[in-house]
């Protein structure tokens, strides 16, 4: 078995472990979805009252997703630290990038699930015509997802090392998540305005750049967080 193959299997096993834990405990998904659905309903209702429903839908949608991501990341970190699971992972011989990427994959799956629920809700509630550009919307959602999961996983581990725990996560995460949020909401908004080729592609490039930079930084820096955390 080659080293790459072994790393892939280890990563897959870690993702399966996290998914299995979530299926059993149902700690993250229900509260994340409830919060997201409530927020999307309230924001869409408020926008429709002020008559700017479709214009502001993209910003509101990504804001809702951002809040859901913070809740989900905080819960995931908390669960990892429960019953000493994180300490075992720290001592395990799994290479740090594999551990980091497996956590990113798990958070990305959770966030993808949130996107699958919330985006259609906004299409329905706000009458936003995003579904007419399904492929372009998928690209924005995918890159946005990767950006959020990569930086969120790293900062979730950083916040876990503090006394406040995941209470500090939103303060650390939001400034660094801002470029991803701005680019995602702008790219989604432009879909509704049919301003696709030039302007939209620039925001998509920014999203891609953020995802690549955050993933690379995470692979390098997670080692220091893993070493330090307890």
């Amino acid at each position: 078995m080659s080293a790459l193959d072994r790393c892939f299997r280890q990563g897959l096993w870690l993702v399966q472990k996290d998914l299995r834990r979530e299926f059993r405990s149902k700690h993250i998904v229900p509260r994340m979805l409830l919060l997201g659905m409530t927020l999307s309903f309230l924001l869409a209702y408020q926008s429709s009252r002020s008559g700017s429903s479709a214009d502001t839908a993209a910003g509101h949608c990504w804001m809702t997703l951002c809040v859901m991501a913070i809740v989900s990341l905080g819960s995931a970190v908390h669960q990892d630290h429960e019953h000493g699971c994180w300490n075992v992972l720290r001592l395990s011989p799994v290479p740090t990038p594999v551990l980091y990427l497996s956590k990113v994959a798990f958070n990305s799956l959770l966030f993808g699930f949130a996107q699958l629920v919330v985006v259609p809700l906004f299409v329905v509630f706000s009458d936003a015509p995003w579904h007419t550009h399904a492929w372009e919307l998928s690209a924005v959602l995918l890159l946005g997802n990767l950006g959020v999961a990569s930086i969120g996983t790293l900062l979730g581990a950083v916040s876990a090392a503090t006394e406040q725990g995941d209470g500090l996560l939103s303060i650390l995460l939001l400034p660094l998540l801002a470029p991803v949020m701005l680019a995602s909401s702008e790219a989604t908004r432009l879909l509704a305005e049919n301003l696709l080729p030039v302007e939209w592609f620039r925001w998509l490039q920014l999203l891609g750049a953020c995802a690549i930079v955050y993933l690379t930084a995470g692979c390098v820096l997670y080692d220091f967080v893993r070493e330090d955390d307890c």
């Binding site: 930086i151 790293l154 900062l155 950083v158 090392a161 503090t162 006394e163 406040q164 500090l168 303060i171 650390l172 939001l174 400034p175 660094l176 801002a178 470029p179 701005l182 930079v213 955050y214 930084a217 820096l221 220091f224 967080v225 070493e227 330090d228």
Partner: protein
């Protein structure tokens, strides 16, 4: 303790020259430089605003580089620099935003606009704030240093965006505007004076942080020794 004394000696030389440079910069920007034809006296804000912006960006580079040096060497001396630079950077970035807002009110007729340069500068200030909050949230010095170094390296990504925002994105913030030679000279002197001021504060504050950590360590050691002395006789008595 030795580092603190050394920095005091170094500072005493710099602090004799620094007031002269600061006074020269203030006099030049207030009286000597000609009044701008379009904006009048409000244009003088630029000399403070640009200098502060320069200091805030340089400070973040210092924060990230010293953070990386800490991660590499694990010497807390680097973290003292990082800590001091993050405090000074937070202050100068805040002053950049405030002075820029006054300038924008005169130039554009609004206190704030969502220009890319303004937005990215505000994000930088938020990252600085997150750094300070993170540091205050961790009591263990090594762990705080580690977490802050990681966050500083991530936050460094914002610096090129602040610098290149006017070129990469459309905005209304001026990009290297034409200036009269006297204005240009005043700007250079102001930037130099504020940079020197930042350097002096950085040296002093980093030494102060190191000293306070050393005092805390000594106090902890002494109280431990006192506790040890108190517990040993009672144990002997019980035996």
């Amino acid at each position: 303790m030795h580092g603190y004394v050394e920095s005091r000696r170094r500072n005493s030389i710099v602090t004799q020259v620094l007031p002269l440079v600061m006074v020269a910069a203030s006099v030049m920007s207030t009286w000597w430089v000609p009044v701008d034809g379009e904006m009048g006296d409000a244009q003088r804000i630029v000399y403070v605003h640009v200098s502060m912006a320069w200091v805030s960006l340089s400070a973040f580079i210092v924060v990230a580089l010293t953070g990386a040096a800490y991660l590499w060497t694990r010497k807390l001396r680097w973290d003292d620099w990082s800590h001091a630079a993050s405090e000074l950077g937070w202050l100068s970035c805040g002053l950049t935003l405030v002075s820029g807002s006054f300038w924008a009110h005169e130039a554009w007729g609004t206190w704030w606009t969502w220009d890319p340069r303004l937005t990215t500068a505000f994000l930088l200030w938020m990252i600085y704030s997150a750094l300070l909050t993170l540091r205050s949230g961790v009591s263990d010095v090594q762990r705080a240093a580690n977490s802050c170094a990681v966050l500083a390296l991530l936050g460094l990504i914002d610096v090129p965006f602040v610098v290149m925002a006017t070129r990469w994105f459309r905005g209304i913030h001026p990009v290297a505007p034409e200036m009269a030679p006297a204005m240009r000279l005043t700007l250079f002197v102001s930037v130099g004076a504020y940079s020197a001021f930042f350097l002096v504060l950085l040296l002093g504050r980093s030494a102060q942080i190191g000293l306070s950590r050393e005092i805390a360590r000594q106090v902890a050691r002494q109280s431990e020794a006192v506790h040890h002395r108190r517990t040993i006789p009672s144990k002997r008595a019980s035996l």
